[in-house]
């Protein structure tokens, strides 16, 4: 079976395919082949390290989009028990690009919301490639309100190329749907924990993508605009996506420097899809840790702290000395 591979992975996949072929060979000279297999395995190990240990931002973006990458529903299944999915925005329809419902993390009852991509073409058509319409955001908002009413901590999974750019989406108010989620999230009186697991595509991600704790997988990205979009505007041409990905500081390490995220969950060499269970286990640990810390905080204090955290994001200077909040983080990006 041919594995999906990006250009930068192809030499590695070629070697791996060769190895598979060798292993399947029924040969009289088993000795010779055993030697070749061993040699090839060593080469593959070296190449794997070389391919994946120093990924460029653009390569990380590609891994974040990898068709085999674990999705929100995979993490829900691996991390939580007793998931009860809830549907619909009560206005127009149920948007399959966002899923949500009650779930238990150990003994803790929680509300879970996440973008949902498909595993194959058929599923992706149903899920609209994880790009929500306004009704998806309105469903999310309904579930946020439920979480608040029943004092359930909210855990969100971010994995979307962006809010869907379409005629109907605009007709039904994509902008206002997202804006109202930002308003709701900012004042929600329960702990809000965000896990960026794949693509964090701009406003469509942000609508369920900020909170009291920001966890991000090592190869996920979170960006104000797609690298392709940025390149087409600022570099007036194609092929600039890799440069744009570099310039936008969209990777977990850079966003940690900027103070946008709090924790990075390591991924195995080659990306989360190479060892999904391991990544889910580590992510679960981080979620539990965050829940434990936030669970002790008074709801009003949570909301205040969340506000102050948002309040502090920004890099600017002010000549006069009357700054109410002169930003002291201005140099953390260095």
């Amino acid at each position: 079976m041919r594995r999906f591979a990006y250009d930068f992975e192809k030499p590695l996949v070629e070697l791996e395919t060769k190895l598979d072929e060798l292993k399947q060979l029924e040969s009289a000279e088993k000795q010779d082949i055993a030697f070749q297999i061993k040699y090839l395995e060593e080469q593959i190990q070296k190449l794997r390290l070389r391919t994946y240990s120093k990924l460029t931002p653009w390569q990380k973006v590609q891994l974040a989009r990898h068709p085999d990458r674990p999705r929100t529903n995979d993490y829900i299944e691996a991390i939580f028990t007793d998931f009860i999915e809830l549907h619909g925005d009560r206005i127009y329809r149920d948007d399959p690009a966002i899923i949500g419902g009650f779930a238990r993390l150990g003994d803790t009852r929680a509300m879970v919301i996440g973008h949902q991509k498909g595993r194959n073409t058929k599923e992706n058509v149903l899920r609209n490639f994880g790009m929500p319409h306004p009704e998806g955001y309105r469903k999310a908002r309904r579930l946020m309100k439920l979480a608040s009413k029943f004092q359930l901590p909210l855990i969100t999974f971010v994995d979307t190329p962006g809010a869907y750019p379409g005629i109907e989406a605009e007709e039904r108010g994509q902008a206002v749907a997202i804006a109202e989620n930002l308003l709701e999230l900012s004042a929600l009186a329960v702990p809000v924990i965000v896990a960026v697991i794949g693509e964090g595509g701009s406003g469509g991600a942000l609508a369920i993508g900020f909170g009291d704790r920001m966890i991000m997988l090592e190869n996920a990205y979170y960006s104000v605009i797609t690298p392709e979009g940025c390149a087409s505007i600022l570099w007036d041409g194609e092929g600039g996506a890799d440069r744009a990905a570099e310039a936008l500081w969209l990777t977990a390490d850079k966003l940690f420097k900027l103070g946008i995220i709090d924790t990075i969950v390591k991924e195995p060499l080659g990306g989360a899809h190479h060892a999904p269970a391991l990544v889910a286990r580590d992510l679960k640990r981080e979620l539990e840790k965050s829940l434990k810390e936030l669970g002790r905080t008074d709801p009003a204090e949570l909301v205040e702290k969340r506000y102050l955290r948002l309040r502090d994001i920004g890099f600017y200077s002010q000549e006069s000395g009357v700054a109410k909040t002169l930003n002291l983080n201005a140099l953390t990006g260095e």
Binding site: P165, E171, C230, L248, Y307, F315, S317
Partner: protein, 290 residues
Amino acid sequence: MPIGEWFNKQKKLAPGNPNLEKRAVPDGVWEKCKGCNEPIYTKELEKNHKVCPKCDYHFPFSAQERVNHLTDPGTFDELWADLSSEDPLHFIANKTYVDSLDIARDKTGLNDAVICGTGQVNGRRVAVGAMDFGFIGGSMGSVVGEKITRLIELATDDRLPLIITSSSGGARMQEGMVSLMQMAKTSAAAARFNKSGMPYISILAHPTTGGVTASFPSLADIIIAEPNALIGFAGQRVIEQTIKQKLPKNFQTAEFNLTHGMIDMIVSRLEMKHTITRLLDYLEPRGVAQ
């Protein structure tokens, strides 16, 4: 003239009626209207708040012009004008972000894409903000986000009606995620303001698009659009590429937004101050109304 008709008219004329195009328009004295292609005496245009007296076409208005137009003469006190953007990402594209900022500053005379302050609207003290599309497409980075947030906080603390005119291409790419988070920051401030019981009127001017639309401009008590303003979330080119169809003629116009229930009304710039005054008469909490 209804906006739909205006657009048809514009389309008919836009590629160039040879008779009209040949008419020489000397710089400075006359200006050719982009709506009806007729020449307008520049002084007349200025006096009419940059609205074409013949076809109601709204010429671009700078942030300063908006503030002057909306507030009573001599009452506007600008705040936080000296806030100026840093370059946290050391961003370089076809030019550096630092250069883009310098060029925009020289062009507009502003430090960034928004003017904020307090002033009076027909004798009533209000908090006013106006975005300037001329400054890197009115994009929102740290400074716009911070100034808008401070303005909303000031209105909350001092119990002032809040009036913000938006005109923006979206979040500012050159500050990356820091820009995107300004959407959350300004929306969080709007959430707090909502509890103050004071009115928030949002005016959407041409164009209000991208991430900015999906934050504070859409969270007001009353949303007003200027005629022929482009208002929407996703860019038209991106939508066309995604759905592989031509977009309807009036897509994302002010009228489209009115039809689909996204805004309360379309108001000509000439009627804007009067309309806001009438609205504030209804919206001010009991006991405060003058």
